[in-house]
Symmetry: D3
Subunit: 238 residues, 6 copies
Amino acid sequence: MREDRKADELRPISIDTSFNRYAEGCALISFGHTRVLCTASVEEKQPPFLRATEQGWVTAEYGMLPRATHSRGGREAARGKQGGRTVEIQRLIGRSLRAVVDLDMLGPRSISLDCDVLQADGGTRTAAITGCWVALRIAVNKMLTDGTLEQDPVIGQLAAVSCGLVDGQALLDLQYSEDSRAEMDANFIMTPEGGVIEVQATAEDKPLHWDQFMQLKALADKGIGDLAAIQNEAVAKS
Amino acid sequence: MREDRKADELRPISIDTSFNRYAEGCALISFGHTRVLCTASVEEKQPPFLRATEQGWVTAEYGMLPRATHSRGGREAARGKQGGRTVEIQRLIGRSLRAVVDLDMLGPRSISLDCDVLQADGGTRTAAITGCWVALRIAVNKMLTDGTLEQDPVIGQLAAVSCGLVDGQALLDLQYSEDSRAEMDANFIMTPEGGVIEVQATAEDKPLHWDQFMQLKALADKGIGDLAAIQNEAVAKS
Amino acid sequence: MREDRKADELRPISIDTSFNRYAEGCALISFGHTRVLCTASVEEKQPPFLRATEQGWVTAEYGMLPRATHSRGGREAARGKQGGRTVEIQRLIGRSLRAVVDLDMLGPRSISLDCDVLQADGGTRTAAITGCWVALRIAVNKMLTDGTLEQDPVIGQLAAVSCGLVDGQALLDLQYSEDSRAEMDANFIMTPEGGVIEVQATAEDKPLHWDQFMQLKALADKGIGDLAAIQNEAVAKS
Amino acid sequence: MREDRKADELRPISIDTSFNRYAEGCALISFGHTRVLCTASVEEKQPPFLRATEQGWVTAEYGMLPRATHSRGGREAARGKQGGRTVEIQRLIGRSLRAVVDLDMLGPRSISLDCDVLQADGGTRTAAITGCWVALRIAVNKMLTDGTLEQDPVIGQLAAVSCGLVDGQALLDLQYSEDSRAEMDANFIMTPEGGVIEVQATAEDKPLHWDQFMQLKALADKGIGDLAAIQNEAVAKS
Amino acid sequence: MREDRKADELRPISIDTSFNRYAEGCALISFGHTRVLCTASVEEKQPPFLRATEQGWVTAEYGMLPRATHSRGGREAARGKQGGRTVEIQRLIGRSLRAVVDLDMLGPRSISLDCDVLQADGGTRTAAITGCWVALRIAVNKMLTDGTLEQDPVIGQLAAVSCGLVDGQALLDLQYSEDSRAEMDANFIMTPEGGVIEVQATAEDKPLHWDQFMQLKALADKGIGDLAAIQNEAVAKS
Amino acid sequence: MREDRKADELRPISIDTSFNRYAEGCALISFGHTRVLCTASVEEKQPPFLRATEQGWVTAEYGMLPRATHSRGGREAARGKQGGRTVEIQRLIGRSLRAVVDLDMLGPRSISLDCDVLQADGGTRTAAITGCWVALRIAVNKMLTDGTLEQDPVIGQLAAVSCGLVDGQALLDLQYSEDSRAEMDANFIMTPEGGVIEVQATAEDKPLHWDQFMQLKALADKGIGDLAAIQNEAVAKS
C-alpha cells in the first residue's frame, strides 16, 4: 500500500509560470519531487522541410541536469550525444503537442518547447508534457493578444500521466520508488474530454492481461481530469 | 475500402530461415513488400553493466538500407549518427524480446538481434519484432541441442502487428499507402494467448475516441494469432 | 551612469542551498537576474589519470539551458558538441576551485561541480564560481560530519566577480546590458584576504591603459569581500 | 590445391536484378557465398561542388551488415563513424565507375550506388563493383528509354576481380579462407577489352617478385572476360 | 637561478617569414626550442554571421603535431575532437588579433591564422600570438601593395609573453621545465606602448599576493618591447 | 615536355633528420616543394588487439596543415573527422612499413609514424612513405644501440614514388601541376632490389593500355633506386 496517498491520487502538483523572464511561455512544473522547467520559444522561422509552405511547426527538446537524480549521470553535451531515452522522450513530447495545434493556423513560425528536468523522481515525461501545454498556451495567448495571430491555433487541451501495476495494484502517477519495481508502466496522453492522443504501455518482466491495462486506463481518466484543472488555473493566473 | 484484402487480413507473410549462413538464428521476413533481415548472434560475453552478475542480455539494433524506400534516404553510418526513429525502434525491439526471455536462465552471454530493412512498405518495426522472435528461437534451440543451455530461457512467444484507422475504418497490418494517411496508428506486441507486452497508439492529427482504439485491439488479436502460427511453422522447418 | 545601483555595488545576491534534494552540496545562486544552479556530487572514484595515486580530484561542467537568454540558443547536447565558450568556462571553474582544495587530503574520490545556467543576464561564470564554492563547502562539511574525512581539504575560501569599463567608467558586477558594450571586461577570482587565484582581463576593441585595469582591481576587492560574507551566511544556514 | 575449382576459375556467379522494387537499377550479386545488394538511385540534383556546371556525378557508398561475417562486427551507424576500410572501398567503387561514365553527357543529376554486403566470404569489393556496373547500366537504360537522356553516358563496361598468391600458387577470385592466408592480394578493375581502370596489389608479409604480380594479371584477364559475359546476360534479362 | 639566461631575459627568438610559399603571410617563429608555424590566409568571403554587413573577420586555429612534445600525444583529428586546451588557446589568439584590426576597414573578407606547433617547450600560445601578428602584418601589407586595400586596417602592434613565479622568483618567458613547476603563470598580450590587450594570470596551487603579480607585469613590459623589435625586423626583411 | 628536368628524373630530394629533437626518429623530407615531417615514436605498449601476444605493431597517421596547399583547406581536427583521402593514405603508409618489419622480433611495443605535410606540391604520400622508412630506421637503430633490441626487426628497405602519364608521356615523380592533368597516376612502393610491396594505378578519365602501365613501372624502378641511395645517406649521417 502507498504510505502517503491513495492509489488513484496524484502527487502534489504545482505550476510556476514566472520562473523564466525571457521565454514567451514558461511553466516550472512539479509532480511531487519531480521538477521540470518547460519553456516555449516562438521564432519567426520555419524548419527547412516546411520552407515551401505557409505552415508552422511545434517541436520539443528534453534534457536532464546531471544531478537531477540520486546519483550523478553524465552530461549529454559532454558525451557529444543525446541518449536513446532522451531522443525517445523528446520525440513523444513534440508529437503529442502537435496533435492539439493546427499548424496551418499557426502560420510560418516555430514554437520550440524545452523541457529541462531539474529534479527527477519518476514521471518526468508526463510532467514535461503537462507543463509544455501550459507554456504553449501562454505563448500563444500572447500572440493572440499582441495581434501576431488572429485565430487560436491551439485546438485542444492535453495532459499526461503515468500509471503502473506495482505488486499487482494499479497506481496513479508513479514516483521513482514505485516505478522502479512496477510490473507494467503506462503513459497516457489525453484530453480532458477523454480523447486519446498517445498511449504507451510496457510490461516489464512478463506479459500481462488486458484487463490489467484497462485498470490503468481508468486511473488515467481521473488523473488527466485533475491535471487539466490545475493547468487551467495556472494559465488563468499567469 | 482496401482493394486486395479484407480489413482484418494480413498481407502475405513469408519467413526464410536460411538466408544467412553464419548467424546462429536467421529470419528474412516479408510482410507484403516489406522485407527485413533479422539475425540473432550469440556471444559469450556480457554487457559491462552486468559484469558482476551471472545474468545474460538480449539487445537489438535496427537499420534501413538507403534505398529500402521509394526515394533514397541518407546512410546513417555516413551521417555519423543514428536517427531518432531508428533509436526509438531498436529500443522497442530489444525491450519486447527481453520480456519473453529469462535472463538469469540465459546465463552470462549476449544475444544481439540485428534487423536490417531491405525493403520498406510500412510495418517494418512489427515485421522486425516478429522475425526476431523466430531468429532468437532458432538460436536458443541450437544452444539447447548442443548442450550450451540446459533449460530453455525463452519463456514465451510473441509477435507484433500494426493496426490503424484509415478514413474512419479500422485496418489490420497497414502498408505504406495506408499508414501515411492513417488517423491513428497503433502497434501491438502480444503473445498468442493475448498477453500484453507493449502497446503504442498515436493519434496523428486530432484526439480520437477510446472505442476506436478498442477496435484496433480486436484486429490485433486476430493478427497476432495468425502470425504466431506462421512463426511456429518457420521454426519447425528450420 | 547606472540607474539603480552605484558603480561599486553588486546586484542583489541570493543563495538557496536547498533547491536540489539529492546532491551532496547545492547552491542556486542569483546575481540579479542571472541564476545558476550549482551542485557538488561526491563520487568514491578517481579519474583515470590518478589511478596509481591516493589523490582526489575536483572538476566542473557548465551548461546553459537553451532559453536562459533573451533569444533561444541551440542545445549543446543536440548539436553533439560543447561550444568553445562552454569549454573555456568549465575549465576555469574547475581550475579555480582546485586552487583552494588540498587534493591529497581529499583522498581517492572525486567532486563534480555542475553549473547549469537557468537564466543569464551577464556574469554567469563568476556566479557559477561563487556558487560552486558554497556547494563544495557544504559537501565537504557533510563528509567531515559523517566521518568520511578527518581533516578539512578545503584550504581557503574564494569568490569571483566581473568588473568592466563602460563608457570610460569602472563598474562592478556587469549585467548583460553593460557587459555587451564594455571596453574592457575583467574577471577576478580571489580570496577574501586579497589572494589572487585567477585574473583575466580582455580589451574589447582597442588596447587600454594599465591604470584602467587597476581601477577594476580596486572594485573587485570590494565585491569579493561582499560576496564572501554572503557565502558564509548561506553555508551557516544550510 | 583448391578443392572444388581450378586456379583460374571463378566461384559460381549469379546476379538478380529484381530483388529491390524501388531502385532505378538493382543487382543482388553473388560470388559464391559473398552476396552484395547493389542499387543505383538517380536523383535530379548535383552535389554542391558542381553547382555552377552542367555536369553530373556518380558516387558510391558501401556497408556491411553486422552479421554478414562469421562473427558479428559492430554496426558503423551505432559507432557513429565509418571505418577506414569502408571509406577506402567506397572511394574505390565511385572512382572506378566514374571512369566509364561521361559526366557531361549524364547532365545535372546524380547516381548514387549503394553496396550493402548481406554476406561476406571474400571479394566483397570486387563483387560490389561488378554488380554496380549492372545496376548503373539498368538505371541509365531506363533514362534512355523514357527520354530523360538522349545519348548514352556509359562509355564502357567494367568488371572487377581479386587474385592472390596462396602457398606460392596464383589463384583467381579468392574466397575468405584463401584470402586470409594469401602472400599477395591484388584487385583488378578492367574492361572486357583489357583496358586498365584500377589496379591495386599488396604484399602481405614480405616483398614479392614482379613476375608473381604478372601471373595474377594473367588470371585477371580471364576472370574479367567471364564476368563481363554474365553482366551482359543479367542486363539483357532485366 | 636560471642556468643560461637572466630572469628578465627572453630565450633566443627567431622568425622565418619564407618557410611556406603559398600563404599570404607566414612566420615560423622560435622561442628557444618552441617552434610554431603561423600562416595568414586571406579569403574573399565573410563568416555567415557577418553576411548582411560590409565587415571583415580575423580568426585563428591552433594545433600541435602529435610528436611536438617529449612523449607522443594523440592526434586531435583522429580523436574526432579538439581538446579544451586547444579551443581555449585558439579563441585567445583570434580575440587578441581582432583587438588590433579595424574590421570595417578590412572589408568583406576573412583572414585565417593557423598556428601549428612543430615543437613545444613552453610558451606555445605566446609564440603563436607573436608570430601571428607578423604573418598578419605581411598579408595585409601585400593587400595594401596590390591595391586590394586602400587603408591599413591593422591599427596597432602586439606581442605576447609568459611570465611566472618559480621558487618564489619572477621569471620572463618560461620554458617547459620552469613552467611545469611555476607557482603562478601569467600571459600578457600587450602593445609596445604598454597598452593592455589581454592578461591572464593563474595561481597553480595556492592563492598568491597581488604584488607578486605586479612583479610579473614589470617583466612583461620588458619582454614585449624586445619582441616588438624582433617582429619589426622580420617584417622589414620579408 | 618538362621544363626543368627529364622525364625519368626525380625532383631535388632532401632529408633532414634533426628537425625534431624529441622523436626517436625523424625525417623532414622534401620532394621539390613538397615537404613532409615524419617522426617515429616508440612506445612500450601494444595496441589492444595484440594484448595476448608478444608481438609489436607499426602504425601511421597522416595529416596536412591547413595552408600546406595553394588555397587553405579546412582543419580536420576542427571538422571533427579525418577525410576519406587521409584515412586511405595513412592506412597505406602503415601497411607498407609493416611489410618490412618483423613484428615478432620488434617485441611488445609500438612504433607510431606521424606524417604531417607542411607544404604540398604533389606526391605527399610517396614522400611520407620514403621519409617514414628513414625515421623508422633511425628509431630502431637507437633501440639496437641502447640494447632495447638485440636483433634488427627491420628486414628490408623500401621507398615510394609516383609516376604518371601526362599528355601521353610517362613521367617520374609528378609535381602538382602534372598530377592534376595526368591520364593515369600510379604509386609504386618497392624495395631497392625490385621487390613489390604495394602498387596502385588509377586511370583518371578513361581505361588505358597495359603497356602504358608497364612504362610507368620502368620509371619507378629507376626512381626507387635513386631514393634508396638518398635514404641510406641520410641514415648514415644521422
